[in-house]
């Protein structure tokens, strides 16, 4: 029976009310007392063969007969008006099939895909499609744009002074912060400057659109194929059932690729007008000028505590530089929700600047907010003379501090204990040394959501060869969610993980699946997959019961066999499935809502060890211990990879990644990967990774998300480790040699 239920979902800190169709679920829960079987055992990726052979078709690899190449004209100025643009000259270039000016795309999308008032360097003005890339580039030159330059604002101070906001400034308060600060025995004032970190997924934003008389197909590198489909249908007034969005393989996204981007809008409009398939791939420099970044911010705290280190009040404010778009990511959520502080006032000022629009970047807001808060916490610990981990234990929140709701599960205290043990925290004072190179150890806590939720649907089918196919309406950023789906299905069907194919990344294949974000994908889809697998299992057992003249309740599926519970009967599954001929046994499943009135969060603790060369200012991260509480681990191999990858992005934020804007022109000077540094193999520290969480008893399959948690505490732990090593705290990241030497001087 399908039911319509109303449910609440927390998506990256924003609460959404949703209606969702849920089918009755007869799937038995995992037996918590049983040791992990196929779920919880390391598995290599089901997509591995495609990815290591170069056979995987990414959007940028799609080639269609008659396909045109598109190029975009972008403003080189921080703020300008287009005074002249020769569209006719561009149309006259040989091989050019379609030219779009600002007026041609002004109605497409929430913000126009093309504009005659480009408000940042890199903003799109015109787009062309031609038989070849060379012809398209010749057309861009023929456009001969004339720009009238206007004044611009790019730095945070000037932007705040201008008082233009992307969203209205917001405030929230619990308790009485002013009174509590006045009464506090210890008060620290602390300010931090977070840099703009660029996503730099190695596959840039790209789309191939094929507009035909009978429907539209768009291949695009997106974290949400269904959102992209909905946007296309609305924007181009099409029946959603005649719009197909495909993202079978995706070269990373990290938050910058939700739904349909300008690349999808423009490729589709060019295809609609030219009646030819059109491919648009952003260059690396366009990617970094126009396709998003982690919000730079100035984050300030006044924190009051009693002499025992118990937090009494947090006054927090953040000026966030959103450029020309994005939204106010939950940057002060850690200040509000990480510790049991009775009085918290938070104010967020999301300013507008003449820069490209911000985008969500892996734990948006929370990562940079944690980076600041967790360093301020160490300053409190120092003032009251307390071990930093002990300070955190003393301020542990037993229930959600904002709402008072109980957590579905929380093992943060265990994370502290285990991380301390693995890192050798108790002997950290002996690390420091006296010479040129000083060592230090620092910790930081992690707080995020990640419980997942509906809507998410899955289908499982099995045919004569007993090689199950799992179909899910999601896209795989590269996290390994398809492999996890195969593992979950394998447990119900009693077959090896590598016997299972997973089909994903195509709206024509399956019912709605979750977007890839908020650490919600697996926690959303896995219960639906298991339920679908269970439906297939019960049907197979019914068939076997008839064949072998035994009760279905006495049968089980294990290791590719149908077995009786007493062990007397054992037959290969194929003995039953081979009778199917060309028929399938199919099952479907849906995701039920999470329990109401409870807080669903992930937690963790990381401890970093750094070496600071006081002569050169070079900081080297030597070791990171990561202990996270994210519920049941489906695939330990994939989970570790997520943790290592998150730590490396946090390390990049801490040590080397920063968008640099030329103050005289308002343009980005390091839009290429030569100048914008991201971590390489040479920067890899030793990483120790463990999970303390057991299955969350209140969530479907006990799974919480892991995409975001590992990136959240790394940079804070590194900052605290540097302060421990050299006694100086750097207020701005990244901790470059120049900043380190200036701080030491």
């Amino acid at each position: 029976m399908a039911r319509l239920v109303r449910t609440e979902a927390v998506v990256e800190g924003r609460v959404e009310q949703r209606y969702t169709v849920v089918e009755d679920d007869i799937t038995p829960e995992y037996d918590l007392d049983r040791p992990p079987g196929v779920v919880g055992r390391p598995a290599t990726r089901v997509t591995a063969r495609s990815r290591v052979t170069g056979a995987a078709t990414f959007t940028t690899d799609v080639r269609l007969p008659g396909m045109l190449e598109a190029r975009v004209l972008r403003s080189p100025h921080a703020n300008a008006r287009v005074a002249a643009l020769d569209l006719d000259a561009a149309r006259a270039v040989e091989g050019v099939r379609c030219v779009l000016g600002p007026a041609d795309a002004s109605t497409l999308g929430e913000t126009p895909a093309l504009s005659d008032h480009p408000e940042f360097a890199g903003a799109a003005v015109a787009a062309v499609a031609a038989d070849s890339g060379a012809a398209a580039e010749a057309a861009l030159a023929a456009l001969a744009p004339v720009f009238e330059e206007l004044g611009f604002v790019t730095d945070l101070d000037s932007a705040l002074a201008r008082q233009e906001f992307i969203e209205e400034p917001s405030e929230s308060e619990r308790g009485d912060v002013a009174a509590a600060l006045a009464a506090a025995e210890v008060v620290i004032e602390s300010e931090f400057d977070a840099p703009a970190q660029m996503h730099n997924a190695l596959e840039s934003h790209c789309a191939v659109a094929d507009w035909r008389a009978d429907g539209l197909t768009v291949w695009t590198s997106t974290q949400s194929i269904y959102q992209a489909r909905e946007q296309l249908a609305t924007m181009f007034e099409l029946d959603p059932e005649r719009v197909r969005v495909i993202c079978q393989f995706m070269g990373g996204g990290f938050g910058a690729k939700f739904g349909l981007g300008a690349e999808g809008v423009l490729a589709t409009e060019l295809s609609r007008r030219s009646r030819r398939p059109v491919r648009l791939v952003f260059s690396r420099r366009d990617e970094n000028r126009a396709a998003g970044y982690r919000t730079p911010a100035r984050i300030s705290f006044s924190i009051g505590a009693d002499a025992a280190g118990r937090l009494q009040a947090i006054e927090a404010s953040a000026v966030m530089g959103l450029g020309t778009g994005g939204w106010a990511y939950p940057i002060l959520e850690p200040a509000k929700a990480l510790y049991a502080c009775p009085n918290v006032h938070a104010m967020v000022l999301p300013v507008k600047q003449n820069l490209g629009p911000a985008a969500a970047f892996r734990a948006p807001g929370v990562m940079e907010g944690t980076w600041a808060l967790e360093q301020a916490l160490d300053e409190v610990a120092e003032r009251v003379g307390l071990d930093p981990l002990e300070l955190r234990r003393r301020n542990h929140a037993d229930t959600d501090p904002g709402t008072g709701r109980p957590y579905t599960s929380k093992r943060l205290l265990e994370s502290y204990d285990r991380a301390a043990e693995l890192a050798g925290w108790d002997s950290r004072e002996s690390l420091r040394g006296q010479g040129r190179v000083r060592r230090g150890m620092g910790c930081a806590s992690q707080y995020w959501w990640g419980g997942g939720g509906p809507p998410a649907y899955a289908e499982v089918r099995i045919g004569a060869a007993a090689r199950p196919v799992v179909t899910v309406g999601l896209q795989d950023l590269g996290t390994g969610v398809q492999t996890a789906c195969a593992i979950v299905a394998a447990e119900r069907l009693g077959v090896a993980v590598d016997e299972i194919s997973v089909r994903a990344g195509d709206t024509a294949l399956a019912g709605h699946g979750p977007f890839s974000g908020g650490s919600m994908t697996l926690a959303s889809i896995a219960p639906a997959v298991r339920s679908a697998g269970h439906h297939v299992r019960t049907q197979l057992l019914d068939l076997a019961a008839e064949m072998f003249e035994i009760s279905a309740t006495d049968l089980t599926l294990e290791e590719g066999e149908i077995r009786s519970v007493d062990g007397a009967l054992r037959h290969p599954i194929t003995e039953v499935t081979s009778k199917l001929g060309n028929a399938w046994v199919t099952g479907s499943g849906s995701r039920a809502p999470n329990p109401e009135g409870m807080a669903v969060n992930t937690f963790g603790c990381q401890i970093a060890t750094v070496a600071v060369d006081t002569a050169t200012g070079v900081v080297r991260v030597e070791r990171v211990v990561a202990v996270h509480d994210v519920g049941r681990i489906v695939n330990p191999m994939g989970a570790r990879s997520q943790v290592v990858g998150g730590i490396l992005q946090g390390l990049g934020f801490a040590l080397m990644e920063e968008r640099v804007i030329d103050p005289t022109t308002g343009t980005m000077v390091n839009a290429g990967l030569e100048d914008y540094k991201i971590p390489t193999l040479a920067d890899l520290p030793e990483i120790v990774c463990e999970f303390v969480g057991q299955a969350d008893p209140h969530l479907g399959l006990g799974i919480k998300g892991l995409g975001e948690p590992p990136v959240i505490p790394t940079a804070a732990a590194i900052g605290n480790a540097i302060a421990h090593a050299v006694g100086v705290r750097l207020r701005a990241a990244p901790y470059t040699p120049r900043r380190m030497l200036e701080a030491l001087a």
Partner: protein
Amino acid sequence: MNVHLTINGGSHTLDVPAQLSLAELLRDGLALPGTKVACGEGTCGSCTVLVDDRPVLACLTLAAACDGAKVRTIEGGSELLDRLQAAFTGHDAFQCGFCTPGQLMSALALLERSPHPSHDEIVDTMSGNLCRCGAYEGIAAAVAQVARVNG
């Protein structure tokens, strides 16, 4: 202009524009999209292919400059490449997989040139290939494992 190339063992005589990059020729001209272009400026290593057994950045190499050369790509295959691919799989040495063909070709060139590289040699060589997912731990372990099996 006419160039003669051996690509993955097959002989090709092609008329290429003078400014065409080797990456464009492979991806668009010869339907070998395994070679990826991520930066287009020779900084990320994604487009690494072997030209006369040396790793080169195909996005910065002119096709016309490869006249007479022997080009190998991820689609080419070899016994050593097979072993590297299996080791990359076994060590989870990729997440999204976009940089993986370039990583594998760099590793292949390294192990052909130096069958028993030291850890530092692996780190130095493979640091030229960026991976934004951060799969470096698996990459280094996979290359080291194949090197060990080289005996």
